[in-house]
Symmetry: none
Subunit: 187 residues, 3 copies
């Protein structure tokens, strides 16, 4: 019934419907995210990745490997041009791989991959991305942007000049802002 329903749907409908199904699998509700702080819904990328892996129509281009521990992009060109734009806002394999790395996926280095003219498939793995185990997805965490702590003690002469000018400008803006408020009150 799932397949029939999806076939009957338009393209967008397939994805939306599958996402809803996935939410029901995870036990997440789209109606009350701020009331019940239950299981956090997976990021969009992970959900889409799972859904496209589960779609049998894609198994010629991307599929689980034999043991279900890793997955491979079997047809790089078709995957890039056919699958990516259906699920994401681009058709760049590098953007897809950047997302995989951002979520901690690592490329699997097999022996055949080391050959010069590698016709072999691109293979990735993540300890919490396993075939038939959607409940593990919640443990996959996106890497956060590092916050830089900057403390500079020294400044050059030229820099000091610019900083002084900046202060003058800041005072000027404060004064004009005050004038603006005064005029507004007068009016």
């Amino acid at each position: 019934m799932f397949v029939l329903g999806c076939v009957a749907c338009c393209r967008l409908g397939l994805l939306d419907w599958s996402l809803l199904l996935l939410c029901s699998i995870f036990g997440t509700s789209m109606k009350e995210p701020s009331v019940s702080l239950g299981p956090t819904p997976a990021p969009v990328f992970l959900t889409k990745l799972w859904v496209l892996m589960e779609d049998p129509a894609n198994c010629d281009m991307i599929a689980w490997n034999t043991n279900g521990q890793t997955f491979s992009i079997l047809d790089e060109q078709r995957f890039t041009k056919e699958i990516l734009p259906r699920y994401f806002k681009h058709s760049n394999l590098s953007s897809f791989i950047r997302q995989l790395n951002m979520y901690g996926f690592r490329k699997v280095m097999s022996l055949e991959n080391g050959l010069v003219k590698s016709e072999s498939a691109i293979e990735f793995q993540h300890p919490f991305f396993k075939k038939g185990r959607p409940e593990l997805l919640e443990h996959i965490k996106r890497k956060v942007n590092s916050v830089k702590t900057e403390d500079a003690h020294l400044s050059q002469d030229n820099l000091q000049k610019v900083i002084n000018e900046l202060k003058v400008l800041q005072n000027g803006q404060s004064n004009m802002d005050f004038k603006l408020d005064t005029m507004r009150r007068e009016n």
Copy 2:
């Protein structure tokens, strides 16, 4: 004459012959690289890049743009599978782009890059990579692993702070300009 000669060559011969020609242009000898400390030969990547750009057989896949200031990969898939393995030890577009970036090439933003269904070509640019100007190649330098000098780094941090303050000021001026116009309309 150059073109006619190249067309007459076979593929492998073309590359070797073109490399020899390129060396003659640069005034470098392949026989005594360590004896005469004259003009340094260009790195292999730059030489190969120039030669493949000059081969008319490749112009359907990679070509100079109108003004000869930039070049574009017109057919990404064919370029990856047909051209790359002929000149390099791989068939990965990402490795080719990594080399371009390593030598200071920059991608040229095109309007169509923002689109999902981007049929647009990948376009790159370098100030010393110009059509018909092989003598400029020697100015293209590979980036080296930089050892950061602490003084300069500190001043750069300070500069960054000032730049951030500048942006705040610019926003402040924009807001006040907006307020002024609003008050003028109200009056």
Copy 3:
């Protein structure tokens, strides 16, 4: 002969040509990262915004207002469905407006806009976004994130950039101060 072949390979369309024109206006074609940090190209959003404003085919949906100081989205529905997906990776008016706000654009609240609810056009303005003045675009700054400059030893060049921006800000404050005094006398 080589030149002819390359020209035949080119597929530059109207958009590309417009972008080239824009780059020539900004003087960004000759960028020498290791020699001098020339004028930074405008962000993609600003470039696209300018180009779509300049396209006469869009003037039924978005256009400059009478004095060229502001612009209005005339047909919200058609703008959202026809123009946005042609230039961006979405069809959401709210995302477009978020970008406008991110770059300091403000909605113009005219009297007519305040009275009738949704019949009036959406009007925006920015002090550096004026009809026929593309050279002002470089002064429009994106909010929030810091710009990491690459080479620490080029701090002097960066310093000059900051100084130039300071001058622009100083002029802007002088002008606004003059406007304030004028308005005060008029009142």
